[in-house]
């Protein structure tokens, strides 16, 4: 998928901006505070109906503005055009229109425009808490499977309901309501086991792609391994039925603690992923640089996975990632982005001269944010 043009109204720093993009590489440069990153953020909105910087739509609304609107003209690899419009009005929420038709649920749209974000914060996938790793894999699988996204939404709702029930029992110090809890547990186990199963299948495929990605970006990281041990156990889990059985048992075992704490204590919402390099756990033993390189490899592997699954080259959004790389790595990464299987990329950078000779003659790849916006509006 390629984005040809974007228009922003009252979005972050942009009162009204229009930008046209090249189908290949695009460098968006300009001093900090001119809204470079917000252009990537807006493109991300058009792909996944949300920001990659905040979960609150209000924060991206320009200060004092009554609404924001983003319109993007996309073109698929088969030449189909797709016009996506997202409008947000505080109090009324977000509305999504695809080719002029209102899409009532975001999940009906997510996945049509696959996207991968590279950001300086990618090292948190390996260095941060388990929620970072869950978010990482959930974002990928959701983009490639509508069923997974639906299951995630349903799982979160079930979890909220079940936690509320546990809380209310705790507050009132009332009876256990075990019949009602077990009804919620059954729903939790049904949906949660499908999620765990999908994650296990995903990890199997993803490991191979991660291995490839690490080889492509150099020798600093070797023999990467990724594990997912759901339900904090060592049990070998096969099909969904098997997972359901284990999940039910685990829930039963922690029933008393759940009742004491008023909280659901087991399930895919508490699982973690583990990464190893050369047999050592990355989270504890990797250097700052290794975390960074590993983050880069994970994102490249994400790109390959989506390309294989969605059969539409994902958009690449690279937010200030080059600023932290040395000259050799910039060259290496640049050549990867130039490879034929890579789709369109939008790259922000404080200065374009960090790319040196790499940009060559193709000056139309480069958008100076101040000039572009001034000339297009």
């Amino acid at each position: 998928m390629v984005i040809k043009r974007i228009s922003l109204k009252q979005f972050r720093a942009h009162e009204e901006s229009v930008l046209a993009f090249h189908p290949g590489l695009n460098i968006i440069s300009g001093p900090n505070g001119t809204g470079k990153t917000n252009i990537l953020e807006a493109v991300h909105y058009l792909c996944l109906t949300k920001s990659f910087l905040t979960s609150n739509d209000r924060y991206v609304l320009r200060h004092g503005a009554p609404f924001f609107e983003i319109i993007g003209d996309f073109e698929s690899s088969t030449g189909q055009s797709l016009v996506v419009r997202i409008a947000f009005l505080p109090g009324e929420g977000k509305k999504i229109f695809v080719n002029g038709v209102h899409v009532p649920r975001a999940s009906d749209f997510v996945g049509r425009i696959p996207v991968v974000v590279f950001s300086p914060d990618d090292y948190v996938i390996t260095a941060g808490g388990p929620e970072e790793r869950r978010r990482f894999i959930d974002t990928i699988i959701s983009q490639s499977s509508r069923i997974y996204l639906d299951d995630l939404i349903r799982y979160r709702r079930t979890l909220k309901q079940r936690n509320e029930l546990l809380q209310s029992i705790k507050r009132r110090r009332g009876p256990m309501h075990s019949e009602q809890i077990s009804s919620w547990s059954r729903e939790l186990v049904d949906i949660g086991s499908r999620i765990i199963h999908s994650r296990l299948l995903f990890i199997e495929r993803f490991s191979r792609l991660l291995d490839e990605a690490c080889r492509r970006i150099g020798s600093e990281i070797e023999e990467p391994r990724i594990f997912y041990r759901p339900l904090s156990g060592d049990a070998k889990l096969g099909d969904v039925e098997e997972i359901k059985e284990v999940f039910s048992n685990v829930l039963q075992k922690c029933a008393h603690r759940e009742w004491e704490r008023g909280l659901t204590l087991a399930g895919p919402h508490r699982d973690d992923l583990h990464f190893e390099l050369d047999g050592m756990p990355v989270r504890r033993f990797a250097s700052q640089g290794q975390h960074r390189t590993f983050g880069l490899a994970l994102k490249l592997a994400q790109y390959s996975f989506l390309l294989e699954t969605v059969e539409e080259p994902p958009l690449l959004l690279l937010d200030d990632v080059f600023d932290n790389l040395d000259h050799t790595r910039i060259g290496l990464f640049f050549s990867i982005l130039h490879e034929s299987e890579m789709g369109q990329s939008l790259i922000t950078a404080a200065r374009k001269d960090i790319f040196g000779e790499l940009l060559g003659e193709n000056s139309d790849h480069h958008l100076d944010i101040r000039e572009t916006i001034a000339s297009e509006v």
């Binding site: 709702r157 029930l165 019949e179 077990s182 009804s183």
Partner: protein, 199 residues
């Protein structure tokens, strides 16, 4: 601010209390009412009053009705051994429109939802058990919406019904995930009824 007509403002106020009606729509409705002939306005007003005065809940199935028991419960042509359990009276109308169901109904009045403070005791589940206990029911179809609250309510009820020797099934396929029975088209709902699954 000064209104030229207090009566107009009062009606706007009343209309905008209705769901999905904003103030703008309310003003348009009032403008329309002002142009309507008096006898039509009277019909509208008395229909509103009648709905409150005459409509009651059927003491057997708890759907809305003018007569107790409701026409469905009192019809000799209906198969009273099969009960379809639904959330709201609107779902009864939706299933009736399919012309594909000849049993009777039981309206729960909602679904289990801790976030809304609704537990099983707030629904007409006890009444459903009484019906199954006291009459010759052979099948219960759980026609709740296919969302997490509907699923959980269906599990809860099916567990309570398990000791009885009856068939329990659930409307399943055909209804879009996260969908709502009341707004599902007849064809889809008809297929869902045919393909109900045992739970």
């Amino acid at each position: 601010m000064q209104f030229t007509s207090e009566s107009v403002e009062t009606l706007v106020e009343q209309f905008s209390r209705l769901p999905t009606i904003g103030r703008k729509t309310a003003r348009r409705l009032v403008a329309f009412v002002l142009k309507m002939p008096r006898d039509q306005v009277e019909l509208l007003a008395s229909a509103l009053i009648a709905v409150k005065d005459r409509v009651i809940h059927c003491s057997n199935c708890f759907t809305v009705t003018d007569t107790d028991p409701c026409p469905i419960c009192s019809s000799a042509k209906r198969d009273s051994t099969t009960i379809c359990v639904v959330e709201e009276p609107g779902d009864v109308t939706a299933i009736e429109r399919t012309h594909g169901y000849n049993g009777v109904y039981h309206v729960l009045g909602g679904v289990i939802s801790p976030l809304d403070g609704i537990g099983p005791e707030d629904l007409r589940i006890r009444e459903l058990l009484a019906r199954v206990q006291n009459s010759s029911i052979t099948e219960v179809i759980l026609g709740v919406n296919p969302n997490v609250e509907g699923d959980t309510t269906a599990y809860y009820i099916s567990e309570l019904l398990r000791p009885f020797d009856i068939q329990i099934s659930r409307l399943a396929r055909g209804i879009p995930i996260g969908g709502n029975l009341e707004f599902t088209d007849e064809a889809t709902l008809g297929r869902a009824l045919e393909s109900r699954v045992a739970v």
